[in-house]
């Protein structure tokens, strides 16, 4: 299963001046939260911001730890694939991976949609 698969269709390249993922695509607009839900009482805003920042920082550290490692992706219908994790976008909508092992062969570079992924696991 290690034979690399030749690229059948090149995806449209990212806009060179942006983050890399099209912010005006209907999928991004549908999935990306435009407003962040927050608790009603305004006096505890600062506390909520602090918690939010703390949680996000820990999550970014998790992503940092995951970079370059061989990760197992559990997807719908009990599909399991392995790949080397590259990066995630800021809203965690897409995951960039390398050497994705699929039944068709090994995809050198691939983009996984987060809506398709249920969980990713890796060893530290």
């Amino acid at each position: 299963m290690k034979t690399p698969v030749s690229v059948l269709r090149l995806p449209r390249g990212p806009d060179p001046n942006s983050r890399g993922f099209d912010p005006s695509s209907p999928r991004f607009i549908a999935l990306c939260p435009t407003s962040v839900p927050s608790s009603s009482s305004s006096s505890s805003d600062e506390e909520e911001q602090r918690l939010r920042a703390e949680l996000r920082e820990s999550f970014l550290r998790t992503l940092l730890l995951m970079t370059g490692k061989r990760v197992r992706f559990d997807m719908h219908e009990h599909v399991r694939v392995h790949a080397r994790f590259g990066a995630s976008d800021i809203d965690v909508l897409n995951l960039q991976v390398s050497d994705l092992e699929t039944p068709l062969g090994v995809q050198r570079e691939a983009l996984l949609r987060c809506q398709d992924v249920i969980a990713c696991s890796f060893e530290v």
Binding site: I90, V92, A119, C120
Partner: protein, 171 residues
């Protein structure tokens, strides 16, 4: 009962450091200790609690989470153990003297490279845009400007003569 992804950060924070069982979309169950919950995607990061194995981490995407139940509460010890998996090794304990001389050498090196730097207690401030905190490694640079950050990081990395501790991470 609100959906997991619509909950508040305060609610998510309640689960951090506790052992939980997460139920995902198609009746899959994942157990582990919660390290964090991403406020943007509501994804849960679980760390395995087995003693003898090397720790494994599992990220369950927020959209798939249907239920989270606490199995066992964590302690300060478990929190410390968990964090040691993720945070870079800051245990390099330098004495105040060593810190001071290191800060001095980094400051002189920056000045030599014509970088405007001032000392603000234990922190070095560069051009009002970047700060370097102890122990003044490339990974300790903090800035909102990417270009300045990468320039100063490579400068600090290339400082001649100083010992570089291993296991640095880029911010």
């Amino acid at each position: 009962m609100l959906q997991w992804s619509s909950r508040s950060p305060r609610h998510w924070h309640e689960f951090v450091n506790h052992e939980v069982c997460v139920t995902a979309g198609d009746q899959q169950r994942f157990e582990g200790r919660v390290f964090t919950v991403d406020p943007v995607s509501a994804s849960v990061v679980l760390v395995s609690v087995q003693e003898n194995e090397c720790p494994s981490v599992r990220v369950i995407l927020g959209h798939a989470v249907t239920d989270v139940q606490i199995l066992r509460r964590g302690t300060e010890e478990t929190e410390r153990q968990m964090k040691s998996v993720f945070l870079p090794d800051r245990a390099q304990s330098l004495s105040a003297e060593e810190l001071k001389s290191r800060r001095e050498s980094v400051r002189l090196w920056l000045e030599k490279n014509r970088v405007p730097v001032t000392e603000d207690g234990e922190v070095l401030c560069v051009a009002n845009a970047l700060t370097i905190s102890a122990p003044y490694r490339p990974g300790d640079c903090s800035s909102a400007n990417e270009i300045i950050l990468s320039r100063i990081q490579s400068l600090v990395e290339s400082i001649p003569g100083a010992e570089q501790p291993s296991g640095q991470t880029h911010q």
